[in-house]
Amino acid sequence: MTEQKSPETRVALKHLYKIFGDDPEGAMEHVTQGLSKPELLDQHNHVLGLSDINIDIPDGKITVIMGLSGSGKSTLIRHLNLLIRPTAGTVEVDGENILDFGESRLRTLRQETMSMVFQKFALLPHRTVLENAAMPLAVRGFAKDDRQAEANKWLDRVGLQGQANQHPNQLSGGMQQRVGLARALTSNAPIMLMDEAFSALDPLIRTDMQNLLLELQEELHKTVVFITHDLDEALKLADKLVILKDGFIVQQGEPQKILMKPADAYVEEFITDINRARVLRVRSVMRRDADLEGVDDAVDAEATLEDVIAQSRGDSSACFKVVQDDRVVGRLDMTDLVRALVPAIPTAEEDAPRPAA
């Protein structure tokens, strides 16, 4: 798969397996001998939850893990803070295998390094919004004033001014998840785990929350692991995309690359229904090192194809020079653009494969 080159790896999952059942270790031997998930279920009555998961989660980026329901997403994200322990493999956070951590060290990790946002919000119903948001600091023993000041700051930041003294059940779903988000932010942990955090929300509110997350991320640069079953959401948020199916990874890498080069029929099927013009970016379609003679108009490398189509006013013979950070990095012909809009037709010049880092 495509290796991310520059950003440092914050969390690394290595050869992670999870088997549910009475005797996971015993079943593990069958799996190493090559038994598949349905065979394991039929013959040994064990569920292969995760199979040989290897992911490097880059620091300061949003890594989205996507898959259909039952593909093991929730199981996977719970391995990052060891709410679920693996049957085999390692989970390394900042280079340390957290499976070796004792109970108190693991608690410290959960208090200070990782926070979590849940699909069903999981707020404390008997506490006010303020107390809920301040909970991570209360757990760490902060004084009441300190933790409430911090909680208030984040409640304001997520748009919950003036709701601090309500109880969660008095708020709408969207508001409750804002509390969930504020709670995760109050902990000031550098890693944020989000398990289908927006899936329970109405579409419009979901879009708001996605925008809020991106806005916050611009400022905070947290290492976010985001779970979703919604490809549009995944493409909107992801710096890195991991596609999961029946407990194993089908493909992972930069979303643009996955769109341009789906690894197999399953991924292809997955991405057929999306609006490619809105998702694909110029840098994924342009030609590098191409002749730039007679090309005047410029487009940004990060612009979406939709932007470019608008800019060309529908002229199918137009071509542009592609600019990134005030540098010209390539050339975009409308014919290439149009071709890229249809999946499965290879583009004229495959995005030049860079040497593996």
């Binding site: 919000f121 999981a122 707020l123 757990v139």
Partner: protein
């Protein structure tokens, strides 16, 4: 001569049985048979009349077999022989219960009524915040006092307060332990089932032998054993029913077991626990009436008098008092429960 002679002959146990008439005391039916004249005579027992091979029937055939009365005797002997060593442990452990009950009974009656009634009303106000309920309780207590049932009612109430308090004090931790460990639950459940199915009269018997009837802990223990079951069960249930997602969130933010218990599990289980407390209080009331058989003071004594002396009026008035207390206790605990619920509907 007896029905089962043949069996012992077939087994070749005649020698062990002893040759002739048993020296054991005769059973009642033997005596009856003898006195009616036809005992001892050779007698054909039809198949229809064949007695069950009980100890007594077998003893007829073989003198060496024990009789059923030996079993009851043996049990009694066994119990009496461990009683003293049991008392060495149980007496000091349960002594505070006597003190608490005696103290509560004395304190409640020694304090003048014009302090006790307002104090009770204040408690009702604090737990329920309902003026209507306070009025109802005030009128009921005044009514009871008006027909001179005040002392008896207060005795009953103070016993209930002490016993229900101890039930919660002991029952909630046991329930918490049960909710945490399945093996603890497996061990405790049969005991709870037994306590709940045994009619209270039955476990009064060993208690009477163990403690003297003059000690108040006797009825205290009887009430606690009877009434503690619901608070244990519902504490266990309440904690097990706490939303798994919320528990997961508590874990994800690194709460310790203790923080989770006091900050999440108990508060969220509180409505269920309070439902258990309500039942425990109601069962204490039921038992404190029965416990008047073993000298528990209160309205039950009057009921008992009504039964023993056929004093219909006394019994009915006391019965009315008990119903009033039951309604008061039920309403007040339910109001408290409702107040908790309204703060945290989830």
């Amino acid at each position: 001569m007896a029905t089962y002679d043949g069996i012992f002959e077939a087994l070749g146990l005649e020698d062990w049985c002893g040759s002739s008439a048993s020296s054991a005391p005769m059973s009642m039916s033997d005596l009856v048979a003898q006195s009616s004249g036809d005992g001892g005579g050779e007698q054909q027992v039809s198949l229809w009349d064949t007695p069950f091979p009980s100890l007594d029937a077998l003893n007829d055939a073989c003198a060496a077999m024990p009789q059923s009365r030996d079993v009851t005797k043996g049990l009694e002997q066994g119990f009496l022989s461990i009683k003293d060593s049991l008392k060495v442990v149980l007496d000091p452990v349960t002594q505070p219960l006597s003190w608490m009950l005696d103290g509560a009974l004395y304190g409640m009656l020694a304090t003048p009524w014009w302090i006790v009634i307002p104090a009770l009303l204040l408690v009702v106000w604090l737990v329920s915040r309902s003026a209507a309920l306070v009025t109802f309780v005030g009128v009921s207590l005044a009514g009871l006092a008006f027909i001179d049932q005040y002392d008896y009612a207060m005795q009953t109430l103070s016993i209930i307060f002490v016993c229900a308090f101890l039930c919660v004090l002991i029952g909630v931790p046991i329930g918490i332990l049960m909710s945490r460990s399945d093996s603890m639950r497996r061990m405790t459940t049969p005991v709870l089932d037994m306590l709940q199915t045994l009619p209270p009269f039955v476990y009064l018997i060993p208690l009477i032998f163990l403690f003297s009837v003059t000690e108040s802990k006797l009825f205290g223990i009887a009430i606690i054993l009877y009434a503690i079951v619901p608070v244990i069960r519902l504490t266990d249930l309440g904690i097990r029913l706490v939303d798994k997602d919320v528990i997961e969130a508590a874990d994800a933010f690194g709460m310790s077991q203790r923080q989770k218990l006091f900050g999440v599990q108990i508060p969220l289980a509180l409505p269920t626990i309070m439902a258990g407390v309500n039942q425990t209080i109601m069962m204490s009331l039921a038992m404190v009436v029965i416990a008047s058989l073993v000298s528990a003071p209160g309205l039950g004594v009057l009921v008992l008098r009504g039964i023993r002396n056929l004093e219909l009026g006394v019994g009915l008035v006391a019965g009315l008092g008990i119903v009033l207390l039951a309604v008061i206790l039920d309403r007040v605990t339910k109001a408290a429960l409702q107040r908790i619920n309204s703060v945290q509907q989830h």
